[in-house]
C-alpha cells in the first residue's frame, strides 16, 4: 500500500539530510578520536600508576628490608660464641632506639624455660623484657612456620599481646643448633607504619592504595571493614567476579599489572595497578575511578560534542537562511501558479530573485503564462465556433433525415410495395443514404448509397445525391442513366476525392420486374417467401464520382410477390467484432435465412440487432444503413 508522505520544505529536507550526514561524521569522528585518546591516556595512566606504586613499594620495602638486615645481624650476634645475655640486652635496647621501624624483638625457644623466651621492646624510654609462654607462641605462625620450613618467614599482621599490644608484622629467623631449629628470632615492625605509607598515597582525586598479603588478605585499606577481614578472593566471591579472582591469583603469584575493573560496587569502574613488595611477597595496589583516570578524555569529549552541536546549529541556521532566500521566490512562484490555476494569472505577483535558476523559471513562467493566456482565448473562440458548427450540423442532420423517406409515412410507398429503412450515422450526421419513392404510378424507385468518408462533407454530398436522385429519377426512369447523370454531376461539382457507391433499382409495379444498377455497392439480396435467398453481387459500374464516363449497365430480375429486396451499406458487412472479425455477407445471409414471416421492418431490425450483437461494446465506427423493400403485388 502506498503511504502518502507529507511534503516537506527544501530547507527542512536539506537540514535533515545534513543532520544525518553530520551525525554520522560526528559519531565516526568521536569513536575514532575517543579510541585514540583513550589508548594514549590508558598508556599514560599505566605509567603514572606504575610510578606511584613503584615509589611506595620501594618505601615499604625499605622498611622491611631494613628489618631483614637488622635480623641477620642480630642472628649472627646471637650465634656468636661471645654471646652474653647482658650485652645482648644492651644491644637490643640500642637497636630499638636507633631503628624506630623496629618496634619489638622476640627470641623464643621451643624447649627452653620461660625465662629464655622474651620479647624486648621500648615503652617510652623504658626498655622492657616480657617473658613469653611457649604454650602460647608454639602454635603461632611466626614461630611454627619458620620452625617447620627452616627458612625465614614474614608473617601476616598479628596481635602481639606479649609485646607492644599492637598489630605487628614479624620477620622470623630460625635459630639453628647442631643443624636443628632450636628457636626463633623475631623482629616486629608495626603494621601502623606500613598503613601510614599506604594511607598517604593519593591517586588522582579520590584514588587510594591498599596492601595485600601474600595469601591475598587485604592488610591495609582505607575502608577499615576490609582491612584484616577480607581477602581479594572474598571480594571476588562477594561480587561474583571471576576477573577479580583471576587478578587475586596474579597478585599472590607476585605478578604486576594494570587492570580495569567494572561493576564492582562504588565506584563501579576502576583502574588498578598492583606490584609485589620484593621483601615479603606482599603487594601494593593503587586504585582510581575510571572517571578520574579518563577525566581529561571525558572533558575533551564534552567540549568536542559541544563544538559539534554548535557547528551543527550554525550550519543548520546557515542552510535555513540561505534556502529561505531561495525558497521564498519559489513559494511566491508556487502561489502565482496556484492563482493561475484558479484563473487569475494576470494578478499573480512574480518573485524577484538573484538566483539564476529562479530567474529562468520566472522567465519561462512568464512565457508560459502569456502563451497559456493566448491559448485560453483561442480555445474560447474555437469552442464558441465549434458550438455554433455543432448547432448547425445538428440542424443539417435534421434536414438530412427529413430528406430520406420516412418509414412512418406510408403514402411514400405505392400499393403493393412495403419498405423500411434504417440509417444510424456514426457521428451527428452521416454519409449514408437510402431512399425510396414512386417515380410514377407504375414505377417504384429504391436506392441505397454510401458516400466515402463521414461527417459534414459526406453528409452534404449525401444531401446532394438525394436531391439529384429526386431530380433525375422522374425524367430518366432507368437506373443506369440516373447513375450516369449523377456521376457526371459529381465529377463536375464535387472534389476529386469524394465518391459514392450506390445501388439503385426501379420496380415495375405492373410486371414485378426490378431493374437495378450497382455502382460499386455491396450486393443486393432477394429473400423469397419460401426462405430462399438470392444474392446479386455483380456491380454494373464503378462508384460514382471517380470516372468521367461511367458506362453503367443494369440488371433486371423478376420479383415474385412476397419477395423482399434487402440492401445495406458496408457499415453492416464490415462491422468488426471485439475479436477483429468482419461481419461479412455470409453472416448477413445467415440472419436472413433464420427469419420467420418477415416484413421489411422486422428484417431490417433483425439485421441491425445481429450486427450490434456481433460488434459488442465496440463503438460504431461507420454509418449503418439498411433498406428492405417488399414486393406484394395486390393486383
Amino acid at each position: 500500500m502506498k503511504i502518502a508522505t507529507k511534503p516537506c520544505t527544501i530547507a527542512f529536507q536539506i537540514i535533515s539530510f545534513m543532520f544525518i550526514v553530520l551525525v554520522l561524521l560526528f559519531v565516526i569522528s568521536l569513536i575514532t578520536t575517543s579510541r585514540l585518546i583513550h589508548n594514549v591516556m590508558e598508556s599514560n595512566a599505566r605509567e603514572s600508576f606504575g610510578n606511584i606504586t613503584k615509589i611506595n613499594v620501594q618505601a615499604i620495602d625499605h622498611t622491611l628490608s631494613k628489618i631483614v638486615t637488622l635480623g641477620r645481624d642480630l642472628e649472627l650476634l646471637i650465634k656468636s660464641p661471645s654471646y652474653n645475655e647482658s650485652e645482648l640486652n644492651l644491644h637490643l635496647r640500642q637497636l630499638l632506639i636507633d631503628n624506630p621501624e623496629l618496634v619489638s624483638i622476640c627470641i623464643a625457644y621451643a624447649n627452653k624455660p620461660i625465662t629464655s623466651n622474651n620479647t624486648y621492646l621500648l615503652q617510652g624510654k623504658n626498655f622492657l623484657i616480657n617473658p613469653s609462654n611457649s604454650s602460647d607462641f608454639a602454635f603461632k605462625d611466626w614461630f611454627i612456620l619458620p620452625q617447620l620450613t627452616e627458612k625465614p618467614y614474614w608473617s601476616d599482621p598479628w596481635f602481639d599481646s606479649d609485646g607492644t599490644g599492637t598489630i605487628v608484622c614479624s620477620y622470623s629467623i630460625p635459630l639453628f643448633l647442631k643443624g636443628k631449629v632450636q628457636g626463633i628470632l623475631r623482629l616486629d615492625t608495626s603494621l601502623e607504619n606500613l598503613r601510614q605509607i599506604v594511607s598517604s598515597i593519593k591517586v588522582k582525586k579520590t584514588g587510594y592504595a591498599f596492601l595485600i598479603s601474600k595469601n591475598g588478605t587485604i592488610v591495609a585499606h582505607p575502608q577499615d571493614s576490609l582491612a584484616m577481614n577480607y581477602t581479594v578472593f572474598d571480594l571476588a566471591e562477594q561480587l561474583n567476579s571471576p576477573k577479580i579472582r583471576s587478578i587475586g591469583k596474579s597478585i599472590v603469584n607476585r605478578e604486576s599489572d594494570f587492570v580495569h575493573l567494572n561493576k564492582i560496587g562504588t565506584p563501579a569502574n576502576i583502574w588498578m595497578y598492583y606490584q609485589p613488595v620484593p621483601t615479603n611477597s606482599w603487594s601494593l595496589a593503587t586504585v582510581a575511578p575510571d572517571a578520574e583516570v579518563f577525566a581529561d578524555l571525558h572533558n575533551l569529549m564534552y567540549i568536542y560534542i559541544g563544538w559539534v552541536l554548535l557547528a551543527f546549529l550554525i550550519i543548520a541556521f546557515s542552510i535555513w537562511y540561505r534556502t529561505r532566500t531561495i525558497n521564498q521566490p519559489l513559494e511566491k512562484l508556487v502561489d502565482s501558479i496556484q492563482k493561475s490555476q484558479s484563473g487569475v494569472p494576470a494578478s499573480a505577483t512574480l518573485p524577484v530573485s538573484d538566483t539564476y535558476e529562479i530567474q529562468v523559471i520566472n522567465t519561462s513562467y512568464n512565457l508560459l503564462k502569456n502563451s497559456l493566456k493566448r491559448y485560453a482565448e483561442n480555445l474560447k473562440a474555437v469552442t464558441a465556433e465549434k458550438d455554433k458548427i455543432v448547432d448547425e450540423v445538428t440542424f443539417a442532420s435534421e434536414i438530412q433525415l427529413n430528406l430520406i423517406s420516412n418509414n412512418k409515412k406510408p403514402y411514400t410507398t405505392p400499393l403493393g410495395i412495403s419498405a423500411f429503412g434504417i440509417l444510424e450515422p456514426a457521428g451527428l450526421v452521416g454519409g449514408d443514404l437510402y431512399d425510396y419513392f414512386s417515380v410514377d404510378n407504375e414505377h417504384f424507385l429504391f436506392a441505397i448509397a454510401d458516400v466515402v468518408g463521414k461527417g459534414v462533407a459526406a453528409a452534404l454530398t449525401m444531401t446532394m445525391i438525394s436531391t439529384l436522385l429526386r431530380t433525375y429519377a422522374p425524367q430518366l426512369k432507368q437506373p443506369e442513366k440516373i447513375l450516369s447523370n449523377m456521376n457526371k454531376f459529381l465529377i463536375e461539382n464535387s472534389p476529386d476525392y469524394r465518391f459514392v457507391t450506390m445501388l439503385l433499382g426501379i420496380i415495375d409495379l405492373k410486371t414485378g420486374t426490378c431493374t437495378f444498377s450497382n455502382a460499386g455497392h455491396t450486393p443486393l439480396f432477394v429473400l423469397s417467401e419460401d426462405g430462399s435467398i438470392t444474392k446479386y453481387a455483380k456491380t454494373h459500374s464503378t462508384a460514382l464520382g471517380i470516372l468521367e464516363s461511367l458506362n453503367a449497365s443494369s440488371e433486371t430480375i423478376q420479383l415474385k410477390p412476397g419477395d423482399e429486396i434487402v440492401l445495406c451499406t458496408d457499415g453492416i458487412t464490415e462491422a468488426i467484432s471485439p475479436e477483429d472479425k468482419l461481419f461479412g455477407t455470409d453472416r448477413l445471409e445467415d440472419v436472413l435465412k433464420n427469419l420467420k414471416n418477415p416484413d421489411p421492418e422486422s428484417t431490417a431490425q433483425a439485421i441491425l440487432n445481429a450486427v450490434k450483437s456481433f460488434s459488442g461494446p465496440n463503438k460504431q465506427t461507420d454509418d449503418i444503413t439498411i433498406l428492405v423493400v417488399k414486393y406484394i403485388n395486390y393486383r
Binding site: 601476616d156 595469601n215 562477594q238 579472582r245
Partner: protein, 338 residues
C-alpha cells in the same frame, strides 16, 4: 580504742565486702527458682552462660539469633554467650563452673564424660560430619596411605582428638603438627595436609586463591568416621536440678537456629557484630558461606532438628573404645535428653 576502731572498721569492711560479693556472685543456682514456660510471660529472667566451641562465627548463629530475637527471653532465660576456643575450652569452662551450657563435638563430650562429672546432650545441632583432611594435589597425596611420614596439621587439644583417632585407626604414621587456627602453614607448604571444617577452613583456603580442583579432600565420613559435631551440653547435676530450664534452653536454641537459617542476611549482620565486638576478623562473605553450609548440617533431618541419632552416639562410643579413650560408658538414653 584504736584496736576497737580498727576492729569495727574491719567488721564494716568485711560486711561491705560480703554485700558486694553477694551482689556480684549471683550464681545461676541462686537465680533459678522455678521453671518457666514459654507460654507464661516470664516475670524475671534466669541468668545462664553458654560457652561456644570456638570463636564467634556463623557456626553458632542459632545462639545469637535466639538471644537477639528474644527466644531465650521467652523461655525465661537471660543467656550470656561466651567465646570458647583454645583460650577457653568449653569442657573446662563447664567443669569449672564458668558456664552452665556449652557446645562440644559429640566425641569430645563422650570422651570427657566421667562418673564424677557426667554430661548430658540437650540437642545435637550439627547432624552431619564436617571434618575433612585437605591437601594440595601437587604434593602427590592420592590416598590415606600417602599420609605416612607426611606432616599433617591437626588442631591441638580436644578439637583435633577425633582426627588423631582417625589416623590411628587407619594406621597412618604421620608427623602430626599441632595447629591453632591458622591456615598459613598449609598455604605456605609447611605441612602436607591439614584438618579443616568443611564450612570454615576449606573456604578460607579457597579464599586464599587456591582452586578446588587443586585440592585433594578426604572426608572422614567416607572412611567410617561419620561423626556428628556440635551439640549442646550441660552437666548431669545441673540438668537434674533444672530439667525444664535445660530443655527450654535447647528449645530456644533450636528456634534460634531455624530463625537464623530462615533469615540469613539478618543473621550474618548479627554474627559480624559479635565478631567485631570481640575484635575478630569479620567477613560477611565467609560468614555467609559458613551459615549456608551449616544449614545442611542443622537441617539434615528437618523433622528432627536437634535430635541425636543413636547410631551417631554408638559410632562415637566405638571409636573411643577402639582408641582406649572411653572412660565412662553410658546408655544412649542417659546421655541424650530430648
Amino acid at each position: 580504742m584504736r584496736s576497737s576502731i580498727t576492729l569495727l572498721i574491719g567488721i564494716a569492711l568485711i560486711f561491705a565486702g560480703f554485700c558486694l560479693s553477694c551482689q556480684k556472685k549471683t550464681s545461676p543456682e541462686e537465680t533459678i527458682t522455678s521453671q518457666e514456660e514459654k507460654s507464661v510471660p516470664p516475670t524475671h529472667l534466669h541468668k545462664v552462660r553458654y560457652t561456644i566451641k570456638w570463636l564467634h562465627q556463623a557456626q553458632f548463629a542459632g545462639a545469637y539469633m535466639a538471644k537477639e530475637k528474644g527466644f531465650f527471653q521467652q523461655y525465661g532465660l537471660d543467656v550470656e554467650i561466651i567465646q570458647g576456643g583454645v583460650d577457653n575450652p568449653p569442657y573446662k569452662a563447664l567443669i569449672n563452673g564458668k558456664t552452665e551450657f556449652c557446645c562440644m563435638n559429640l566425641i569430645t563430650a563422650v570422651e570427657k564424660n566421667n562418673p564424677e562429672f557426667p554430661l548430658v546432650n540437650l540437642a545435637q545441632i550439627s547432624q552431619k560430619n564436617s571434618t575433612w583432611l585437605i591437601g594440595k594435589k601437587n604434593t602427590s597425596i592420592n590416598n590415606l596411605q600417602d599420609l605416612n611420614h607426611r606432616k599433617v596439621g591437626i588442631w591441638r587439644d580436644e578439637a583435633g582428638d577425633h582426627i588423631r583417632y582417625f589416623l590411628h585407626d587407619n594406621e597412618i604414621q604421620a608427623q602430626i603438627i599441632p595447629l591453632d587456627w591458622s591456615v598459613n602453614l598449609f598455604l605456605n607448604d609447611a605441612i602436607d595436609m591439614m584438618n579443616a571444617m568443611s564450612y570454615n577452613e576449606y573456604h578460607r583456603i579457597l579464599m586464599a586463591g587456591i582452586e578446588p580442583e587443586d585440592l585433594i579432600v578426604f572426608n572422614l565420613s567416607d572412611y567410617g568416621y561419620d561423626l556428628v559435631d556440635d551439640g549442646i551440653y550441660t552437666s548431669r547435676a545441673f540438668y537434674n536440678r533444672y530439667p525444664d530450664l535445660c530443655k527450654n534452653f535447647a528449645k530456644a536454641m533450636i528456634e534460634g537456629w531455624i530463625y537464623a537459617l530462615d533469615n540469613p542476611d539478618e543473621t550474618i549482620k548479627v554474627v559480624v557484630r559479635y565478631m567485631r565486638e570481640n575484635h575478630l576478623p569479620a567477613n560477611y562473605n565467609h560468614q555467609s558461606w559458613m551459615l549456608n553450609h551449616m544449614r545442611e548440617r542443622v537441617l539434615e533431618n528437618p523433622e528432627n532438628v536437634g535430635y541425636l541419632n543413636p547410631t551417631d552416639y554408638t559410632l562415637a562410643v566405638e571409636i573411643l573404645m577402639k582408641n582406649g579413650k572411653l572412660a565412662y560408658p553410658v546408655e544412649y538414653e542417659d546421655f541424650f535428653i530430648q
